[in-house]
Symmetry: C2
Subunit: 229 residues, 2 copies
DNA sequence: ATTGCATAGTGTTTATTTTACACTAAGTTA
DNA sequence: TAACTTAGTGTAAAATAAACACTATGCAAT
């Protein structure tokens, strides 16, 4: 007990809600707790913010330590601070959400497979702490954000077909979209760059592959541009 | 030094960015610091989160203590956690933003007038900590949110004229709007309820006064409705 | 009482955006 | 070569947004 203060201090943690799309399902990463409280139950990857690291660094670090995922789009979601959200002591948690592409998922396998797992968002197990509530908040935010910021690209491999992108939108927004209208709208943004490649190994007509023109988006975003689907 | 921990704990504070519209200016409330660090400099109202109160309660409490403002729309903005943002020790700050109507401003006068003051957003003094950055974040959020959520009503007295509402939008979004189109759009939402009153004490034709139908908005919002200007 | 002044209040036309909708093209497999 | 699967494409109708200017009302000054 080396650290003393005149007034009680809360602990500050981070929790990460990491989404991906796999086999036409929106999934998120959970880990099985190896310590009390809630030992054995599923929870969001996360942990304590160290005294000498920023909150965001803590989120990246914990995510990497617990799931092997790194170098991803990570955005602050909300800070949860109900007095009794942790049974041990006062804990304030800054939640982040993140998107990883189905390709990067494979990297995640280098962690202990027993303790980190992808769950479809509507087949979640019982969750520790208030993590169910945090996930609901993140899911709502993801749906909202998807419609006006091109974060959907983060969930796809660098080169993707338009049908993959559409399918991703349909999965997250949970509704069918019109193929022609979707394509028109996406093309009109000018954010897609044509690679001159096509899909490989598919048993039907191969689709053209595109990449997301992030440089162009950054320029547009700076001048108050809003992407809208 | 009665509170000891095995690991160092950060302090957690709240900071409030309180906006109002006064004389056709968007203003925000600052207080003059009476203690180190940054003594004498201007800063956002705020303070430490107590161990037995939620973050949001802390924000409300601090705001009331330091400015006299209470019972207002208060929304979490962002959590700022750079390691060196406070020269004394590690402090993580959860920022909130709030809107008060020009009527409620008068209540704020019951605080020490020397230490709490409204500043136009583009005539801010030098600010303590990273509060300039927090304010920029809040201002951007306010502009964004105003366009798709009817928070503008919070900045007006309960009964208001359409021209007041339009003026408020023009001030915050910093651009002129077309009177007829604005009125059409606002009316079409069905969120305005006609009081059968008119302005008093104006030296020209008196405008009809409206109230904001919050019940109706809440119902619409629940079903995924988005207000848009 | 009349005039001037300031703000309130009101519709229509045009341009733009969104929606609805169905067939042909290309590649793979049996 | 026929059958299957997904890729890729355009147009018309409807809805929404944008541009635009005058009359109405109430008060104040003379």
């Amino acid at each position: 007990m080396k650290y003393s203060y005149q007034y009680p201090h809360p602990s500050v943690t981070v929790d990460c809600v990491v989404f991906t799309v796999q086999n036409n399902f929106l999934k998120l990463m959970l880990i099985q707790r190896g310590a009390e409280p809630f030992i054995g139950e599923w929870a969001l990857p996360g942990g304590f913010v160290r005294i000498d690291e920023s909150i965001e660094s803590a989120a990246s670090r914990e995510l990497k330590e617990e799931t092997g995922i790194e170098n991803i789009y990570l955005e602050q979601l909300y800070t949860f601070g109900k007095v009794d959200r942790d049974p041990r002591e006062r804990v304030i948690s800054v939640a982040y959400y993140a998107l990883v592409s189905s390709e990067e998922q494979i990297i995640a396998a280098d962690t202990d497979a027993a303790s980190a797992k992808w769950f479809p968002v509507d087949e979640l197990p019982r969750l520790a702490f208030d993590h169910k509530y945090i996930i609901e908040t993140a899911y709502r935010r993801l749906q909202g954000k998807l419609s006006y910021q091109p974060i959907g690209f983060e969930l796809l491999p660098p080169k993707f077909a338009l049908s993959q992108l559409q399918s991703l939108y349909e999965i997250i927004l949970n509704k069918k979209l019109d193929k022609r209208n979707f394509r028109k709208k996406i093309q009109k943004t000018g954010l897609l760059a044509d690679t001159n490649e096509t899909q490989k190994g598919v048993s039907h007509r191969a689709a053209k592959l595109y990449t997301f023109n992030k440089e162009k988006y950054d320029i547009l975003a700076k001048n108050g541009y809003y992407f809208e689907i």
